[in-house]
Symmetry: C2
Subunit: 596 residues, 2 copies
């Protein structure tokens, strides 16, 4: 059985030392967020995830969900665990106090989410989807609807889902066919089939609040004719009590590669009663509120699964003896050395470690941008943070899930044959990790979002601000000799990114396929530069602590060494990405479609 | 349900046009191998694999193997399919005619193996293991033992296995504990537990011939005290009839990530009767005969699974409509274009295609080296071929399985959410593909084999010959203007490989961890150069055909374009690998073991 220990110290490092979260007292409500409170929440989160959620992870995968005549039963133990989660008040931690939330920072919410996903991905998806639906209602719904649904969603009494995909329609939501027919009472009757609905039906809550994209009878064709509706599984009476069953049924749960403990449902809507959220035909806007939130959550999944996989790979590598160190036997009392002595095992572990610590900084930094976006008193500061958040959302979603999957596979590899056997749990991590590259917009869609929407938006304001952010750091450190080993390669990779940006601007105009063919590599180049910037900042923080005579010498020295690994072994990939971007569309698009 | 079509035309291109296999009449027995015969065998192989084996692949994964009190039942349909395979004479295709084989080229055997694995990996492993065991007996066993076992193994009447791993012992075979006690009749009694034994027990054949590593009572410690034994499941009488059951039992089959239709067994040996193969305490040598053969077979698995995954991803991408081409709608009669219009989908498909066609050339080229090694009349030619084969075996095993897994994941990605659902079959390909990076020596072990054994062997003779091979091609083409686009980048990457080789020689002496830390990247660098050389050769072949006015314009144009994709998009990775090699051991080894 695998084990999990929440990386509390490293989360503290990022939250307190790198981001100075609790020092940002200009943010509304942050004066109540003290370091002690943050630490207490992290400690409680660690307890819940290590002791309650993680032990259910492997059995939950083995058992999976059961479909029984439209009802779905979650794996053994999930109901009790959910009750603990709900009673602990975790669901509303970052939600609006107006509806019972605790108004804690999003940054802290992401830290707890990392723990939950790492401990039990399939379980974490149930409350995670509720959170996304909560946000969408919070921003777009009328007060009546908010008051009707939000308190019970914020408390975790009810859960939420998002319903986009249909059999003929995934990425291209303009193809949606589900119909919503207006009724005389102001509600709508929805009819259609939605597929791939995560947590679409289950036994954890008494009600499930579905947010559903559908088309009004007179809607324009395509994406401009999509509206968003709230459709509760159980109708809710005016006094808040549960009424009858609504016309939505779970026809089937999908058999899939992983995340077996989360029910992926086919939902049939048959004259189901729903209510419009926001304006008619403007559903995509509301859905994107949910989606952007969800995309950061998915990015976090890439990190979380790599963290738990790393921990188990490291434990195995320290325990399993096989062969001798190349530099001579290390443990002569035993017939072989632990495999962690082997450089190739170290290479794999260090690759995952550098990924985990770097992307943790990135994820929490995006969380801070989300907090600034919502709480900063200054409009310009809010706008800058929103720009950075919008730019980084596709980068984080794609890079963290692609490389998180790779990291999880490296972790499996450390166990050799045992990694392939179910009981060790590593192969579950790989199977679970695979979905994150696909859902909430495939990683190809993320790359197109980056180059097609985020780069050109507002005349390139975001990307210019981003370049300035990285360049300003390099400039500020230019006289710091001990930072040169980090800022020199960072500067070089930033130049490569700028060169790639110029290339896309020049050649993407002429032929948009030039942009499309380079999108994935451009995104990865930007991710590498961003992580380089964060690693350089972390190295600086560590150097300062070491210079000041910290008692945690080992922690900061390891941080510095891991930074060095990143610059020596990971950042050099930028050259390949630049070469690929600059090779343009021709090699990619040369063949006729029927040649494939 | 996925489908499979054997890539006969591309196999013919490599066999006939690139390698001129049937033109190598100086090789013993090759005068009988006519182009017509090769084509007929390829056509028959395609029929068997497309029509018989592939339809059993997905159901075989779903059903898996059943353990019942020591017996193992293979999935429905496997017995009938095996009978067809056996009756078709496929098992002995490349085996020695002395024992009933047909003496066909190894190169052709690899082509058929590719089809079998692509169509049904789990099934293909049963006869694949027999083949490995057959080779080991052929080379190392006494005539008595050969006569007793080989005819029935070559005919497919009986199957074979290799028994290395024990619970405490995987890579480090010096830790083997299974005991072999000599008996007065010249046989031995074996006792111990072997794990991860593929095809260790099943119902396809009446007997299973286990080749087992064990330790004699007076054996030296470690790797120098390992001997190889043949241990049949059913004892064989002197007249060749089956006798009683031997003392080997299948205690359990493992639950694992993939290859569910192949039984991975725990075998308990309890005074099982066995016979020594080759010399006492020299078992590793015999096992390596089997292992090298098996490693090329595993390399092929990486290609085969990527090929079937590619075919299904391409079919989906041409069929599924979603969104519009960036350059404007392509099919205005439909509400959206097929997703193959999107450059990022093309990027994924072209990446897999370039991998498949390039590594097919590599795999069959190694097959030709194996044929030359066995059949060339000139000892020097045999030695050179053996040098190339030895050098390329770890490179092919590691690179083809690492990148084959990546390619299979790219293929899954083309299907979006459907790729994650079982019924589409893509996720099975990914789960199956994952094992190849581990078994027959993890890919980390392959990298150490390359830099620790193969590079320094005979004063670096192999690698020097390899450099000359690539350089001679570049030199020969230096005045061919239309080849410059290929030879220029190939020359650059060859220089990078030579630079990395120099670096390893200089710094590996000083600290062997420098070599170990760079081994994986060095191996990948060599693989990329090798594929570059083969792609350049294929481009030249295609150019010649086009210049000669071939009727297959499309085939050769596509080949040329895919070559261009390789040079534009894949080969540039060499720069990163070189940078990693030259960064040495420090970033990798800096942390204390207990920091992980």
């Amino acid at each position: 059985m695998p084990s999990y220990k929440a990386p509390v110290r490293d989360l503290q490092f990022v939250i307190h030392e790198l981001l100075s979260l609790t020092g940002q007292t200009e943010l509304t409500g942050f004066d109540e967020v003290t370091p002690d409170l943050v630490d207490a929440i992290l400690a409680e989160g660690a307890k819940l995830t290590e002791e309650v959620l993680h032990p259910l992870n492997l059995p939950g995968d083995e058992e999976g969900c059961h479909w029984d005549n439209g009802n779905v039963i979650t794996p053994k133990g999930f109901k009790d665990a959910y009750k603990l989660y709900k009673d602990g008040g975790w669901q509303g931690m970052t939600s609006n106090p107006d509806h019972g939330g605790q108004g804690m920072p999003q940054t802290l919410g992401l830290a707890i989410s990392e723990m939950m996903i790492a401990a039990n991905w399939g379980f974490a998806m149930y409350p995670g989807l509720t959170k996304g639906a909560t946000e969408a209602l919070e921003v777009h719904a009328s007060d009546d609807i908010k008051n009707k649904y939000l308190p019970n969603m914020v408390s975790g009494e009810w859960s939420g889902t998002m319903n986009l995909t249909e059999p003929q329609c995934g990425t291209d939501l303009g193809l949606i066919r589900t119909k919503a027919v207006p009724q005389s009472d102001g509600s709508y009757k929805l009819t259609g089939t939605k597929i791939f609905i995560s947590a679409g039906e289950h036994d954890l809550t008494d009600n499930i609040i579905h947010l559903v994209l559908a088309r009004l009878p007179d809607a324009p064709e395509g994406i401009k004719g999509i509206s968003l509706f709230v459709v509760p599984k159980m109708l809710v009476n005016d006094d808040g009590s549960l009424g009858g069953r609504n016309g939505v049924q779970c026809a089937r749960i999908e058999e899939k590669m992983g995340i077996h403990s989360n029910a992926t449902c086919v939902l049939n809507y048959d004259d189901a009663q729903g209510w419009l959220i926001g304006e008619a035909n403007k559903g995509m806007r509301a859905m994107f509120t949910m989606m952007n939130e969800a995309r950061l959550g998915v990015a976090l999944q890439g990190l979380a699964i790599a963290e738990v996989a790393y921990q188990n790979a490291a434990a195995y590598a320290k325990d399993r003896i096989q062969g001798r160190a190349l530099t001579g036997p290390q443990d002569t009392a035993k017939p072989a050395d632990p495999i962690i002595v082997h450089p190739d095992v170290r290479r794999m572990l260090m690759t995952i470690r550098a990924f985990n610590e770097g992307t943790r900084a990135l994820a929490l930094w995006t969380g801070l941008q989300a907090d600034i976006t919502r709480r900063h008193p200054d409009a310009a500061a809010r706008q800058t943070a929103l720009d950075m958040l919008s730019l980084m959302t596709p980068v984080a979603k794609s890079y963290l899930t692609d490389k998180g999957f790779e990291a999880t596979n490296l972790a499996l590899q450390c166990l050799g044959g045992h990694g392939y056997i179910r009981e060790w749990g590593m192969e579950q991590f790989v199977r679970d990790a695979r979905i994150a590259m696909i859902y909430e917009g495939t990683n190809g869609v993320q790359a197109m979002d980056l180059i097609g929407r985020k780069l050109p938006a507002d005349g390139g304001r975001s990307v210019r601000a981003y370049f300035a952010l990285v360049q300003d750091f390099i400039t500020a450190e230019k006289d710091t000799a001990e930072m040169t080993e980090f800022t020199a390669p960072l500067g070089k990779s930033l130049q490569q990114l700028q060169q790639a940006t110029m290339w896309l601007m020049q050649h993407g105009m002429k032929n948009p396929d030039n942009a499309g063919a380079g999108a994935h590599d451009y995104l990865n180049l930007m991710a590498l530069v961003t992580l380089g910037w964060l690693w350089a900042r972390m190295a600086k923080t560590a150097q300062a602590q070491l210079a000041a005579g910290t008692s945690e010498t080992e922690f900061y020295t390891n941080k510095l060494q891991t930074a060095r690994f990143y610059f020596a072994r990971v950042l050099p990939e930028t050259a390949t990405h630049l070469a690929r971007v600059e090779s343009g569309a021709d090699p990619v698009m040369a063949l006729a479609a029927d040649a494939f």
